[in-house]
Amino acid sequence: MNERINNIRLFLKKYAIPIGLLPIFMIVGVLFWGGLTGAILQSLGWFPAIGLREITLKYYREIFLDTDLWSSSGYTLYIAIIPTILATCISILLAIIINDLNGNMKKISNFIIKIPIMIPYLVGIYMVIVMYGQSGWIARIMASLGLIKCTSQFPEILYSNSAIGIIMVYLWKQVPFMTTIIRSNLISVGRDYEQVAQTLGANNSQIFRYVTIPLIIPGILSSSLLVFAFNFGSFETPFIVGRYYPNTLPVEAYKLYSNIDLCYRPKAMAMVILISILSTIILYYYEKSIEKFKYIKK
């Protein structure tokens, strides 16, 4: 009897890690890989529910022949990259500034910056529409002050190629997020290194470039990576305040998916697979290119 219990104990000890990982593997395996496999099969034309049983690359070909795919990809990359770069730069500065504040000012700014993190994107979208639309507050105030002749002269911030509306929503939400992460990084690193650099005669810009930045690089990298991945696959913001056509890849995939003609389904799935491949490639190269920075302090 004792031996048996011992055996079980040994077994558990030996396979502790796989057993511990089982629940998460089940979730990822069923929900993620299951979904992905289904999507790949449908994109290849396997969709028995509507009588499609022929495996073909036809749908991928159709997508690649569509010239708007490239315009859509460009738009997607544009609204993924620009807000990420802007948010990163602003957040680094903000984090350092807040970190240097004292007493109540620090508490207040800390509180203010955390508010947008708790508010959903949709609220931000709504605020942008109400404030910056051509019939929004700012346009109306400017028109009544005589700065512009009529509200339609107000610059096209929403639904436009420049996607300023989308970028504004992203920045509003993501700058606080990145600032919080970078700031916690700054706090954990402490002031010691900067003070050492100062006593050794480094000036402020040198401290910033050679001491502060390398120390907080992990926080910058992880948060900007999250932000970029989110922006690339995000749906609701471009869907509501983006241009109608060609919109970002996820929105175009959704439009195909929701087409009432079920024959468009494989094409939508091909698009989804394409998005997955693209984002995997981008993330891979992103990780690789930042590897150089990662160990700068060692």
């Binding site: 529910a49 339609s152 639904y159 056509y245 929701s258 009432i260 003609d261």
Partner: protein
């Protein structure tokens, strides 16, 4: 003693099985007309609840369904209505997914549907069957010849009428002088650059607007009622694209972008960014005024080319687990009292789905006493100018063609 217990048990089981057999609702038997309406109503009460899936983007519509229709269903038949707001493409995806998974007892009982959506669901075998003829109110208040034609497609009684939609335009009489036909629309947009647009098809409203342009530029809707004729369609449709491309530079945002939904079109109108709105409900303008969303000076108007008219329906899904209750729901929806309540813009403001000419005099009186409001055009005037929906195949072809020839150009 043991034998006695056994006997008792067997008797008990027998009684249980027999009552279950009597009470259970045999869907196939009902569909073949082998059950009386009273038996169906009794079975429905036994089932006790029914789900109703459909578009839920309008607060007043939802309130009417919950507070009026749901209550009637509960009080008259003891059935609890569970309204689930969901867009029709998601509903069909859900039905399809349940079918793919082989789920025999589904969660969706009834669906608000019409047109190409119905056709897709019908062709994918997602629906129950030809049930309309079982409903007393359908037999009393509908002419199958008209009630069964859904976007030129014979629905064979797989769905039963809910509402009649009449497509009208809206404007603010204090600000704008409207147009009377599509030629004047062209002049209107050129004069008022940036003040008109339509939502991008396949959105309902945008699609209906483009179909109206199609009928107007190709010489009338009558020729497009029959079967789909691709050659004829392609020979004539170019005029439609020419018209839409000609007005495009004068649309909102110079036609570089379109509102992606009718909700956005309506909010543009409400915020004053555009001068003209459009709606599938001829009572919508009044209803919005009542809700305080638009000024009381707003009015409905129609074009000389006619009022696009179609029906929307309730259908019962193939794997519904409350088919008797679903039948009772579909029947109650065609009740004249219910339809008249639905018409009142203070309560909801939605067209009559049953045939007015078949109503008893007492209901006709009631109908005429409903105050449709000053912003609404008289119903008989709208009915006189009615034009009917094209075959759903044309709708699909027009929506696809719009993307290729107008949006991408």
């Amino acid at each position: 003693m043991k034998k006695f217990i056994l006997f008792f048990l067997i008797c008990g089981i027998l009684v249980f099985v027999l009552t279950a057999a009597v009470l259970a609702f045999d869907a196939n038997k009902a569909l073949q007309g082998k059950m009386t309406w009273e038996e169906i109503v009794a079975a429905a009460k036994e089932e006790g609840e029914v789900t109703f899936y459909g578009w839920g983007g309008s607060a007043i519509t939802n309130q009417w369904v919950d507070n009026y229709f749901g209550k009637e269903l509960e009080e008259r038949y003891g059935i609890k209505l569970i309204r689930v707001p969901m867009n029709i493409d998601d509903i069909i995806n859900k039905l399809l997914a349940e079918k793919q998974a082989g789920k025999k007892v589904g969660i969706i009982d009834t669906v608000w549907i019409n047109g190409e959506n119905f056709k897709t669901a019908y062709q994918a075998n997602l629906l129950w069957g030809s049930y309309a003829k079982l409903l007393p109110n359908y037999n009393k208040y509908c002419k199958p010849k008209e009630a069964n034609i859904d976007f030129g497609f014979d629905n064979q009684g797989f769905e039963s009428p809910y509402s009649n939609a009449l497509f009208v335009f809206g404007y603010d009489a204090a600000k704008t002088e409207p147009f009377n036909n599509f030629d004047e629309l062209k002049k209107f947009v050129k004069k008022n650059s940036g003040r008109f647009t339509y939502s991008a098809p396949p959105d309902f409203y945008g699609s209906a607007f483009v179909r109206q342009v199609f009928c107007a530029t190709t010489g009338g809707y009558e020729q497009w009622l029959g079967d789909f004729n691709r050659e004829k369609f392609e020979a004539k449709v170019q005029a439609t694209w020419d018209y839409l491309n000609e007005i495009e530079p004068y649309l909102w945002r110079n036609g570089k972008t379109y509102p992606e939904s009718n909700a956005k079109l309506e909010s543009l109108f409400q915020m004053g960014e555009i001068d003209i709105t459009m709606n599938y409900s001829f009572l919508a303008i009044q209803s919005y005024i009542n809700q305080g969303k638009i000024p009381p000076t707003c009015k409905s108007f129609i074009l000389d080319e006619g009022v696009l008219s179609n029906m929307n329906y309730i259908t019962i899904s193939g794997n519904s687990s409350h088919k008797a209750a679903a039948l009772v729901l579909a029947n109650l929806m065609m009740d004249p009292e219910v339809q008249i309540s639905k018409l009142d813009p203070k309560k909801r403001g939605d067209g009559i789905g049953i045939d007015i000419s078949l109503l008893e005099p007492k209901y006709v009186d009631k109908l005429e006493n409903v105050d449709l409001g000053p912003a609404t055009l008289p119903m008989d005037f709208l009915y006189k100018n009615r034009i009917f929906e094209l075959n759903a195949k044309y709708t699909e072809a027009i929506e696809q063609g719009w993307i290729e020839n107008v949006l991408k150009k």
